[in-house]
């Protein structure tokens, strides 16, 4: 059980850059046996996402990473990016586009004047989710760590949850015939890894947040910035917190 210099430095390097739980899990994840990694305590976490509108450059990295990580079928989206164009007064016609969900980036903005910005969208993992409320068999459920997930072995494919979601975040998987949506990369975050979209974001616009972790920078983010959630009047307890969200965004 002797440790050579190379092994010692490798282990130290891991602890330097990763949290202790992620370090313990990394070897299992690399081996493709993430489920064998040390236990994850659901009650220790309350997951959310912070999205900084001013940092989004509409590159589509998040959409591509999500599609690849989660085998999202072509033409459907667990996350997507919208581009808003809000013209100057007196025009009030807001224009929005999201070609292929923003997966391939965006063509040049044809407008002059006004303002334009990108808005990444995803499941808001609401704490009072209408989708969970309406599911007739309980296949859509809230986890103790604050996520909304779907049991695809139980979903009957009635699509009531798709109708009930105010944010358009759900679709019917064309092969499984069950509902599908963002899981916040649960298979990754439960191993202390970032969701694929956050990891691929080059500007740090999207960040995973654990509200139960007092050391998480989310607390400062929420404290020092003006924060808004999408469609607050829906009272869904949305947990995708946007900084710099324009009133035009729907």
């Amino acid at each position: 059980m002797s440790t050579n210099r190379r092994e010692f430095l490798t282990e130290c390097g891991k602890y330097l850059f990763l949290t202790s739980a992620a370090t313990a899990a990394l070897d299992f994840v690399i081996d493709g046996k993430a489920e064998a990694a040390p236990n994850y305590m659901m009650t220790d976490h309350w997951w959310a996402m912070t999205i900084d509108i001013e940092k989004c450059i509409g590159c589509g990295n998040c959409v591509r990473a999500c599609a690849e990580e989660n085998n999202v079928p072509v033409g459907f989206f667990r996350t997507w990016v919208e581009r808003y164009y809000v013209p100057d007064f007196p025009s009030t016609k807001v224009e929005v586009d999201s070609p292929n969900g923003g997966k391939d980036g965006f063509p040049d903005q044809p407008h002059t004047g006004g303002k334009s910005f990108f808005v990444p969208k995803m499941c808001n993992h609401c704490s009072d989710s209408p989708c969970v409320q309406v599911c007739p068999v309980g296949a859509t459920f809230e986890t103790p760590d604050g996520l909304v997930l779907v049991d695809e072995k139980y979903c009957i494919g009635c699509r009531y949850c798709v109708q009930a979601c105010p944010y358009g975040c759900r679709y019917i998987h064309p092969e499984k015939n069950t509902v599908d949506k963002c899981t916040l990369c649960y298979h990754r975050i439960s191993k202390q890894l970032e969701p694929a979209c956050c990891e691929a974001c080059p500007t740090g616009c999207r960040k995973l947040a654990d509200l139960k972790d007092p050391k998480d920078p989310v607390h400062e983010f929420l404290r020092v910035n003006s924060i808004q959630v999408l469609k607050p009047h829906m009272a869904t307890g949305a947990k995708a917190y946007y900084r710099g969200l324009d009133g035009a965004v729907r």
């Binding site: 309406v134 599911c135 009957i156 798709v162 109708q163 009930a164 944010y167 358009g168």
Partner: protein, 391 residues
């Protein structure tokens, strides 16, 4: 690509371009509405002692049963995993409006309709089980459920219990269809659906469509049997159809006026939709041809005197238009509610397919099926006195 295929105008969230609920989901409220309406018409005679509609009492019950048997089929066909639908009975999710479907349906089928029909027909079933031969003898024998006492005392008990069941059946019919309205009315994400008026509008539109359906079926079956149409009965049904329709239209107008006056953030989107993609089905078919014209026709028969033949034709025309109008209403609720984006920034189109699982062909088959079932039920349990008995 999907945007192009569906003729999207403006912006839709990428996952909402394709409609989730199809023509089959239009059929579901239409069919359950006919069930509830037909039952309420039957209860007029039984509970409210409107003797004039007696010739349609049994026919209305059998019509309700025929349509109720078909009601869950469009839902089954629509599900992504129909083999799992039984989970709704085994592990219903208590907060879900939809989870109650199975229980409301079973209650209505087993406790209300089947029991009422059985009690009402028990005497005939027992007699037929003794007079018929061959297979039919055994069919009727099974239908007696071992209860072959048809003494006056036993029939009095049948009548009393039948009355109690009809009394329970009226709120149950309201529950059956009001509940369907609640499934739509409680979706706060969709302003086209989200309205506390929705269950009440559904109940009255159900009464309208059910009464109209029984009127058409009564006239058609009477003419097919080369019998005389009982005009007193027809006049009374048409009068109740008119009353129910006035209330139904008033409620829908109230909803419309409220939306226009309130003009919330969804108003311009919905207004645009009604004037473009829903113009034919909403303005032309539902409101003009399916509501105003039949209301005027029915009102004319209340105000002026027409010959019997003319009245019969007016009632028939009004009823057929009503049935088309209520179908358009279901279409506008279900399909219309999915044609606009929840971002209120764009519109999509519904592509109706033909010979697919949720296409036009199975929908037509599902609309024909209740009539085949009704034909079988009428053969098994004739709703009118036999010619020999009448002689």
């Amino acid at each position: 690509m999907q945007e192009v295929l569906h003729g999207v105008e403006g912006f839709m969230y990428p996952d909402e371009v394709e409609l989730q609920w199809s023509l089959l989901i239009v059929l579901y409220p239409y069919i359950t509405g006919l069930v509830a309406g037909a039952f309420i018409l039957a209860s007029l005679e039984r509970v409210f002692k409107v003797e004039a509609v007696k010739p349609t009492y049994r026919l209305a019950l059998l019509t309700a049963l025929a349509f109720l048997i078909v009601a869950p089929l469009p839902l089954q066909l629509h599900l992504g995993h129909p083999e799992r639908s039984f989970e709704m009975y085994l592990t219903p999710h208590r907060t879900s409006a939809m989870a109650m479907f199975g229980f409301v349906y079973l209650w209505y089928l087993m406790v209300v309709l089947l029991l009422e029909i059985w009690l009402d027909y028990r005497k005939e079933i027992v007699i037929l089980s003794k007079s018929k031969t061959g297979v039919m003898k055994w069919v009727y024998k099974a239908m007696t459920l071992g209860s072959d006492n048809i003494s006056p005392g036993a029939l009095r008990v049948d009548d009393r219990v039948g009355y109690v069941i009809t009394v329970i059946g009226i709120p149950s019919a309201f529950l059956l269809h009001g509940y369907v309205g609640f499934i739509f009315g409680s979706v706060k994400a969709n302003p086209w659906w989200s309205s506390p008026l929705m269950p009440i509008v559904f109940i009255f539109s159900a009464m309208v469509s059910g009464i109209a359906a029984v009127l058409v079926i009564y006239v058609a079956t009477t003419l097919l049997r080369k019998e005389q149409v009982d005009m007193r009965c027809l006049d009374t049904i048409a009068r109740y159809l008119f009353y129910a329709f006035v209330i139904d239209f008033s409620l829908e107008l109230l909803d419309l006026v409220h939306r226009i006056y309130e003009a919330d953030e969804s108003f311009h989107t919905l207004d645009f939709m009604v004037h473009t993609r829903l113009y034919v089905s909403q303005i032309v078919i539902q409101i003009f041809l399916g509501t105003i014209v039949p209301l005027l026709l029915l009102a004319a028969t209340q105000l002026a005197r027409f010959q019997e033949a003319a009245r019969r034709r007016i009632y028939l025309a009004a009823s057929v238009l009503t049935l088309a109008g209520i179908f358009a209403m279901r279409w506008n609720v279900v399909i219309g509610g999915q044609l606009f984006s929840k971002s209120f920034l764009g519109y999509t189109n519904y592509k109706l397919e033909f010979a697919t699982r949720e296409g036009l062909l199975p929908a037509i088959a599902l609309l024909i099926l209740p009539f085949l079932i009704l034909w079988g039920l009428v053969k098994l349990l004739p709703p009118w006195p036999s010619k020999e008995a009448a002689a």
